[in-house]
Symmetry: C2
Subunit: 91 residues, 2 copies
């Protein structure tokens, strides 16, 4: 069953207060050279569909429920097991 | 300047209430066949570093500030401009 990763961010022209606050905090913590920080949602989920049915279901979920198309954009992809953000190998 | 995407999720063995609630809501909205939903953070940021310096800076930020290593895991990668979740082409 494909595992789908969905990334959601505020539209680029909108202020992202969480990203801005994070960006401003970084130099004081010793992390220099970081700019244009944007922070949103990351989802991973198993979808019991393939091909066009997968595309249609994920697009419908993203546009209709998981994101707010008025202020957010998203991007999704099918990921392998070792690409999961919670893969045991990460830590 | 490399643009870095960082995905953060709760560790796999921990309950993710937001993911669970989303998963339970989907069938009632007409979206069937979705399981094991996990929801976390997605960050995108420009980093003025390359090679080992980039790796070291991103790892240090992730482990020291952007995530809570006690309960979360993360994965990061350098992305192209057309891989941004807020790329104008997405919508």
């Amino acid at each position: 069953m494909p595992r789908v990763a969905i990334d959601v961010l505020l539209k680029r022209e909108l202020l992202d207060p969480q990203g801005r606050a994070t960006e401003r905090a970084l130099p004081g913590l010793g992390y220099d050279g970081v700019s244009d920080v944007r922070i949103g949602k990351h989802l991973e989920l198993d979808v019991d569909a393939v091909g066009e049915a997968l595309d249609a279901l994920v697009e419908a979920m993203c546009a209709g429920f998981l994101t707010n198309p008025v202020v957010e954009t998203y991007r999704w992809r099918v990921i392998a097991d070792d690409e999961r953000a919670d893969a045991p190998a990460t830590r």
